[in-house]
């Protein structure tokens, strides 16, 4: 199937995520996701931006079922997400997630944070799990902190540990939910550097962020959301230089305007 993406090129590979008319409500009245249609190709790097409350986080949290959608179909890596718990577990094995607040486990050392899931979920022997963990820590350039506790590290270091922890699952898809928003300005770069490296290694990435430089550097596609809808999607060059929708134009003028 040669679907065309809005940038004009053929999507390089089969879709790994597809949203089909996905809708979600919080309570009875807050319609947070409205008729979301989105296909993500294997290896594609997507940046999602938009004003707060626009549903960006909810959108990516649906992909690993931290949030349930109520209407429509959502298929991740060939598995439809519905109420089937086994299917959800299967999807989560292939989807890593990085949170705005890191969500490291403060009572475990960095190394224990990383080996927890491999040892208890994938039942990998401790020694092998630790070797793998050290490899990921080296990848995010923080191997020397392995024996420390998360709260003994700086924000940027913690977020890199969180990325390494997600990578220990050897996921096919990585979700980033505003990974740099809780960081001091001086630490944003060290996290973005790691993410850029990751992006260049061919993993499928969906990233909610307002770091436009990151979007320009690595994104294949930028998605702009507002009020639960996908307003515009385009390649970063065209999105930033020539936004098509007046809502996205307005948003860009506000975040880039000074």
């Amino acid at each position: 199937m040669s679907e065309m993406n809005p940038a004009g090129g053929a999507i390089p590979a089969a879709p790994i995520i597809s949203f089909d008319k996905v809708n979600k409500w919080y309570g009875n009245n807050f319609h947070v996701l409205r008729d979301i249609d989105l296909t993500v190709a294997k290896g594609e790097r997507i940046v999602i931006c938009g004003p707060s409350g626009s549903g960006k986080s909810t959108l990516i949290r649906c992909i690993n079922r931290l949030e349930e959608h109520q209407q429509g179909h959502l298929i991740v890596d060939g598995i439809e997400l519905a109420d089937d718990v086994k299917a959800i577990d299967e999807v989560r094995k292939n989807v890593g997630m990085v949170f705005q607040q890191f969500n490291l486990f403060p009572h475990l050392t960095v190394l224990e944070n990383l080996t927890l899931s491999p040892m208890w979920v994938s039942k990998i022997p401790k020694k092998e799990a630790e070797e793998r963990a050290m490899m990921q820590l080296t990848r995010v350039r923080i191997a020397e902190q392995a024996e420390k506790y998360p709260l003994q590290l700086s924000g940027g270091q913690q977020q890199r540990v969180a990325i390494a922890r997600a990578l220990c699952l050897t996921p096919k898809i990585m979700l980033f939910d505003e990974p740099t928003s809780a960081l001091d300005p001086e630490m944003v770069k060290e996290v973005l550097d790691v993410m850029i490296e990751l992006a260049n290694q061919g993993i499928t990435m969906l990233c909610v962020t307002h770091e436009m430089a990151f979007a320009k550097a690595v994104a294949d596609r930028v998605i702009f959301m507002d009020q639960g809808q996908i307003v515009e999607q385009n390649n970063p060059h065209d999105f930033f230089s020539n936004p098509q929708n007046e809502r996205s134009r307005d948003f860009l003028s506000k975040i880039l305007g000074h």
Binding site: N103, F105, W120, P150, L151
Partner: protein, 367 residues
């Protein structure tokens, strides 16, 4: 334009010395007029009462087990009462010539408790050790096997009974409390309702009425011929009572765990029980160590209420020892001070231990 160089200012010591004894006294006891006033008032009260107490308790005290000497004018505390009655106070009505048995049993039990508090013993075989020591404890106390004469549980008493009731109900109440606390946060309405009803019902009645029910009401509902020993009934009563309170303390800790921790565990693929065991409970319990130790200490002291159903633990045994003896009855206060000291030793040890545990579990928070 060339940039200005950054010139760091060298650190200097504070202008006023804040360390040492005199500055400490100045800032903590005489910081402002209110603290100074209360320091003076409390200080003079201490100066007035402490010497009087020491005069009574030590200088003019009678130490020999001689009731006549205690009654002599000018004599202060009569510690002779302890010297005379200590076996009855500490071991209750246990047959006199068999009293080595509760002593050995208690020493074993205390050793087991101390061992259980030590890191080196936190191994799976600790459970086996408990089973073995408890078996020996009951064999020594109850006898009726391997050459020991039978001693009915209603003859048990004093410190061995206090320690047995307290340690067993603590050890059994804790896991029940964990399950109930988790149950109250369950997604399944049936489990949640059941746990809530249990907690509310138990908290709605005083421990004394629970003990009465266990001791007098419960047998009425049992089929003819089937009896459960009153000690076991009382033990179950205290356990269920303590578990309800402890469950609420633990639930407080569970609620303090940020949602993000659960989400992170979910994205890592951990199951419900793995998440509780590896992520939620270690953090929740670490937060409520002081509250749980509160529960433990109050269980220890609440065991004194079992006197009401004719089980003569430490407090009850003291009454037993002195009430029936007109010679020594006037010196009850000394007897109470003696057992207060025993209670204090155990409670203080528990509270110190709790501080150590807090330090251990908060390692990750030390920057």
């Amino acid at each position: 334009m060339s940039a200005t160089l950054f010139a760091p200012i060298a650190a200097r010591p504070a202008p006023v010395n804040t360390e040492g004894l005199m500055p400490w006294i100045k800032s903590n006891l005489f910081g402002d007029w209110k603290t100074a006033l209360s320091s003076v008032v409390i200080g003079s009260l201490l100066l007035w009462y402490v010497p009087q107490f020491l005069h009574w308790a030590l200088l003019t005290a009678a130490w020999a087990p001689n009731a006549e000497a205690c009654r002599a004018p000018g004599v202060g505390a009569c510690w002779g009462v302890v010297a005379e009655k200590y076996r009855l106070i500490i071991l209750g009505r246990y047959p006199f010539e068999e009293q080595w048995r509760p002593v050995v049993a208690t020493v074993l039990m205390v050793a087991l408790l101390v061992a259980s508090c030590t890191r080196a013993f936190w191994r799976p075989w600790l459970v086996v050790l408990w089973a073995v020591v408890l078996a020996i404890f009951f064999w020594l106390m109850y006898g009726n096997a391997l050459g020991l004469a039978k001693v009915e549980t209603d003859r048990w008493g004093g410190l061995p009974l206090t320690i047995l009731l307290a340690s067993l109900s603590i050890v059994m109440a804790f896991p029940i409390a964990l399950v109930v606390a988790l149950g109250r946060r369950s997604n399944l309405p049936a489990i949640r309702t059941f746990c809530t009803i249990y907690v509310e019902l138990v908290r709605g009645v005083p421990l004394i009425s629970v003990l009465f029910m266990a001791s007098f009401m419960f047998p009425l509902f049992m089929p003819q011929g089937l009896t459960i020993d009153v000690l076991i009934r009382v033990l179950v009563g205290i356990t269920l009572f303590a578990a309800a309170y402890m469950a609420e303390v633990i639930r407080g800790g569970l609620q303090a765990i940020p949602k993000g921790q659960l989400e992170a565990a979910a994205t890592l693929g951990l199951s419900y029980w793995q998440t509780q065991r590896k992520i939620v409970l270690p953090q929740a319990l670490a937060m409520v160590v002081p509250g749980i130790m509160n529960n433990f200490i109050s269980i220890f002291k609440d065991t004194s209420l079992v006197t009401i159903v004719s089980l003569y633990e430490l407090t009850g045994a003291l009454g037993l020892a002195l009430n029936s003896d007109a010679n020594w009855r006037p010196f009850k206060i000394e007897g109470y001070l003696f057992i207060a000291l025993i209670y204090f030793a155990f409670c203080f040890a528990m509270s110190r231990y709790s501080l150590w545990v807090e330090k251990q579990v908060n390692k990750g928070k030390v920057r």
